[in-house]
Amino acid sequence: MAPAQVRNFVNLGVAVVVALATMALPPPPSAEAQTGTLRGQVVDAITQRALGGAQIDIEGIRRGGITNTSGQYLILNVPTGTQTVRVQFIGFRTVTQTVTVASGETAVLDFQLSQTALQLDQIVITGTARETQERSVGNTVSRIDAAQVVEIAPISNVQELLTARTPGLTLLSSSGQAGASSKLRIRGAGSLSAGLEPVIYIDGIRVESGTQNGYSTGNGVVQGTNALDFINPNDIESVETIKGPAAATLYGADAAGGVIQIFTKKGRAGSGIQWNASFDMGYSEWALDTPTNHWKCTASNIADPDIYPGCAGVAENTVLTDDPVKRHPLALRQNQGGPDDYADLNTFNLSARGGGDAFNYYLSYENGGEEGVYYNNFSNRTSGRANFGFTPSETFSASVNMGYARTHVRMPLNNNSSNSILRNGFRGRPGSSAPWEDGFRGFGPTLSNQYDNQTEGERTTIGFTVNYQPMDWFSNRLTLGMDKQDRINTLFYEIDTTGAQPWGATNATGTVNRFLPVSHFWTVDYSGTMTADVTNDLGSSLSFGVQLIRDQYESHSVTGEGLVANNLNLVGTAAVTRASQQFVEQTSLGVYVQEQAAWRDRLYTTVAVRVDDNSAFGSDFSLVVYPKASASYIISDEDFFSVPHVDELKLRTAWGQAGKAPAPFTADRAFAPDVTVVGDQGVNQLSTASYGNPDLKAETGSELEIGFDASFLGGRAALEFTYYNQNTRDALVQVPDPPSSGFSGSHFVNIGEISNSGFEALLTGTPVYQRNLQWDATLSFYTNSNELVSFGGALEDITFGAFAQVQKHIEGYPLGGFWYVDVQRDENGNPVLTSSGAAIVDYENEVFVGPQLPTRELGLSNTFTVMGNLRIFTQMDYKGGNYQWCAICSIRNRIDRNSWEVNNPDATPAEVAVWRSRQTKTHIFPADLLKLREVSLSYTLPGEWSSAFRADRTTLTLSGRNIWMWTRYGGTSDPEVSFYSRSDYTQLDYASTPMTRRFSASVALQF
């Protein structure tokens, strides 16, 4: 950032702070009052089970605590007199009781809470101008109670936490490698080229998310890592997701893809200190089948032992078979066969949580790691978090939330790499000469495992939030934050001493490549709210705010070629050194005003408008206006409401707009510096870089949501239902630069219109609710219908795909849908063959197969609690309606010819000719899958056992992940894999690692 801009940035923050401070100062501290003590216990009204973790608040004095594992609480220094005490606990109705506290005495106040599946009084933060009760929000806000999930499910990162728990939020995994990234999609695909990832906030500050680049991630040779992997799931209290423009208007020009906000755990004032420690250990394994390689020895093979040594001496048409990935001892760790040879994983967590009269804190430490199924794959993380809250007065509070993490990931070659284990194992020809190791088409595992691509990262997030309420009707919130990430990605090749130069002539000299990206996100977010009771029935809440997000990315790449020795591997010591640098920055600024009217606390209407300005279009800044309107009606509060078995019913609707802006300077035609050789000297030159489009503008997403939230059967069941209809206009479409212009690449044009519609349902309930047995279940369902409505007459279609042009953006069909071509056939359907017996691909007739993204998803989780101590948890999820292109299947048939179909001695020549052709009809498969994703069995030791080693609570857990799968997919094994982790639409299965099965055991202690 330039100095002048730093000044402006600081000035903005200071100006807002000063403005707030001058409006009213915090009142002076009051004289010390006489106090007493309050204690009690919170239990489940039906099962009488103690409820640990319930939040106790004494209204009006910002004092409270949380219950321990026995459900007991203790609050010191409670002012004397009658106090109103409120108890909140996730999944239970909030209960408020009064108690009289006498000076120097201890008052006892016990609570019995009743379960409720619908919590309209729950506080919502994301997508609203201020903290708001859910009853007043017109759009759906999905919430994951992460603390509860992590306690019972095998969760090691945020991606796993988000999987199949929120209807409409789709997680697209790319690979089962340790540390590999995934893609997030909310309600389908609303943009062609401007990105589909939602934006992520942690405690109110914007953070970098998505798949990260590194050496060889751009072409699928190496899977990218995930920017959210720095977060310890044990630090997360909850996750809120708002799903589209109807809800995300207040986030402006980046938020059309939705917003996910992660809330970390906080301390509790006046609750003493609570320690938690846990230790997990386990292993992961490749649990799915691998394709078997076949080779039918022909007469010419038998006569050519140089190329086909395995065919020497065998009978003609003998079919040889091999499965080198499962056979070779160095291909997968588990191939060694011993119990210690599996990929290990372990994690240690320690946290402390508590607070005093006017402060609270949460501190944590985590160290853990996971080995991948390959020898050169691991992902380790060490992290810490320190969250502090201060409440010096009833009108003023402040919090500082800091997170720090160090990550270390080593990624193997995969997918498109000519040198990866999977590619060469799946493409091997049994009996053929292999240049390196038998059965592998290229490198064998011995060489592949030498690949040394490691990324070490440091991530620091700091957020500072001030809440100030100078008057009871006027509240202010200011958040300042920074997310900084430093990475060092090193790709190292040792000096080749064999003379074979397997990694190429340059790398044979010993090379070291270091890529050092540094990214910053700065957040300044102010909001103010004024409330007023206009009449006895009508309340008003006027909010306004300003949000500034600045994103800066700078990277340096250095390469050293020709090392003196392997341990002298500093770049500067190499014979040839090179360096490059990249710098990108972007700033967005938005201001908004929102008015919410509340009628008798049951009918809420909200209107808002956000005005955005950003630097995406270079110096020619343009303003974009995003409006929204919503309504929420708690109709069950009306006297006339009487529907059998329905306890509460909230009707809601919301409409709004949000945007997607391209990267900065994409509108400008520009050239980039480069180097060339003239007269044996390295000299500067310029190359074409950006074709540009001076007419470029932001794309706009509009969305209508209609739905209801209802609870039934005395609160034991709840249903949230939402219909959504999204439309994106002026969609940014990336079209090729015409090469005749001298530019090569692509540029943006605003020509697209896209629609997404569907519904989401979330059914939660407790079918069995007894003292000794409780069964909690959650069923989520989501549908999506995606369509490219129009290219505005500017394009016929965009055809793309890897290894074959199997995907299209074409009007009237889903974005990135799959299309196949067959071979030419006669009137009887038999393939037409050439004189040499080859099938002829019919490229003129492309046939639509189906969409790339799932059109329906279902998640089902069940928790059985037996005798209060034993819990059994399962989660299954289904995705379907989408398709997967098995490119490796096609390649095996048409190039390697090592599939059974091609080598089947009983197959007719015509059948084999079809398999060997470039048709894609038989290689695009339905990707429907049903997975038993998570299973756990946990047992909480009786209290007296735990107290034997001074613990309040001890829980032992056995858990598993990716335990079982059913699928319609006919490709290699797992339809969830994806070749390009960094691509929005290109989707294929090409030698990708399937999701691994994982088992772990853990012990968790609470003190």
């Binding site: 700033t587 967005s588 201001v591 005003v593 950003n614 060339t676 090469p739 394009l795």
Partner: protein, 449 residues
Amino acid sequence: MIRFNKMLRLAVVAAGLGAVATCDTFDDLLKVNNPERISEEQLNDALLVEVLTNSVIGEFSAMYDDPFIWRGSMFTDEQITGINWESTARLNQRLVRYDEGDPDFMFSAISAARAMADSVSGRFRTLLADPGSDERMATALIYAGYSHIILGDAMCEAVFDVDETISSQAQIYERGLTRLEDGMQVAGAAGREDLVNLARVGLARTHLNLGNGSQVVQYASSVPQDFVHWVEYEQTSDGGTDLVLWGRINGGNHSLGVHPEFLNGTFGDKDLVTSQTDPRLQHTPSWSLGHNRLTRLYKPYQSLPFSGFNGEAIASGGSPPFYERGTDIKMASGLEALHHLYEAAGSGGTGPAGSTLDFVNARRAFGGQEPINLSGDALMAELREQRARDMYLGGFRLGDLRRWKNQGVGDFFPAGTHPTSEWGSYGNATCFPLPLEEYEGNPNLTKPT
């Protein structure tokens, strides 16, 4: 309780914040730096003249080894490939589709060089004090001309701007002529005889492709026989780029092999030492499997167009060198001019090297071959053979084969069963079609059906 007066006051504050957000103070916050790019308007700067000249040369070098030589020679009988990339490997079977990557790579890279040279020469008309006698203007014009030659040799047809129509191969060459003629004139005025000769060779080559024999003789006869102009490659700490062919013969995934047409022995034999007598066609004496683990590859050593050529032959106990990352390629030479000249002059022609037969026998002697005494078509066939050997993998074969086919001399593209017999037969492609990217990015074109 209603506090409308205070609400109003604070609402004004909020409105003020909103208003401020649109004013200049906030514009400062939104300003961002872009140190990676320079806008098109900023190129009109006299301080950038040297850089722009380098840009013309640099863009030409970037496309010359790959895609032009490496991918272009895939269609010819110069190389067989062991590359694993499926669509690129199909080029070697003379199979190409306009919607696959290689036509785009070819057309984009050559167009980048062509457009850079054309735009820089246009800018130089105002940026230079005396553009009519400035060697930098001459360089830009001549490289623009050569870019057209390369474009004409490789592409079936071309487009030069999104507003223009499709040009045929002959029209591409015609456009190049004007640039070479202008460049030669400016180079002469600037006193740069080397650039004049570069233009002369280019003009001779272009006229040969257009069938203008007399102009070929006119320009080629004026080129000194020892003239050479190089396309340079180097990879050093101060910059540059590798010769792509160097990467294609090295490492576990090497992919470049000599086609049986130019092989000194029988394809697939393990030991071809004794037959390797012509220093222009040296290759590893035994084959290895490269990137696709299928095709038998005899890696080529540096042939005559490359800067490391040492004239040694394996059969004589010599050690011809492999390509290095800094090996340069002849962009034009006096020898090339002679080949143009004698081909245009015909079997009875004469030139600086004597008669056509004298020239052919001189080239045979260079290659360690016995003299011959041929005439007519047989002599011209031998001239073509010597041309192929002298220019092996130097970026001429594709244009030559297309010219001979177009001008009715003969179809010498490889045909029949491909040396990698598993692939089947050769197709019939002779050039690269306009790529899908041009059809999708150019509003004036319609995709072929």
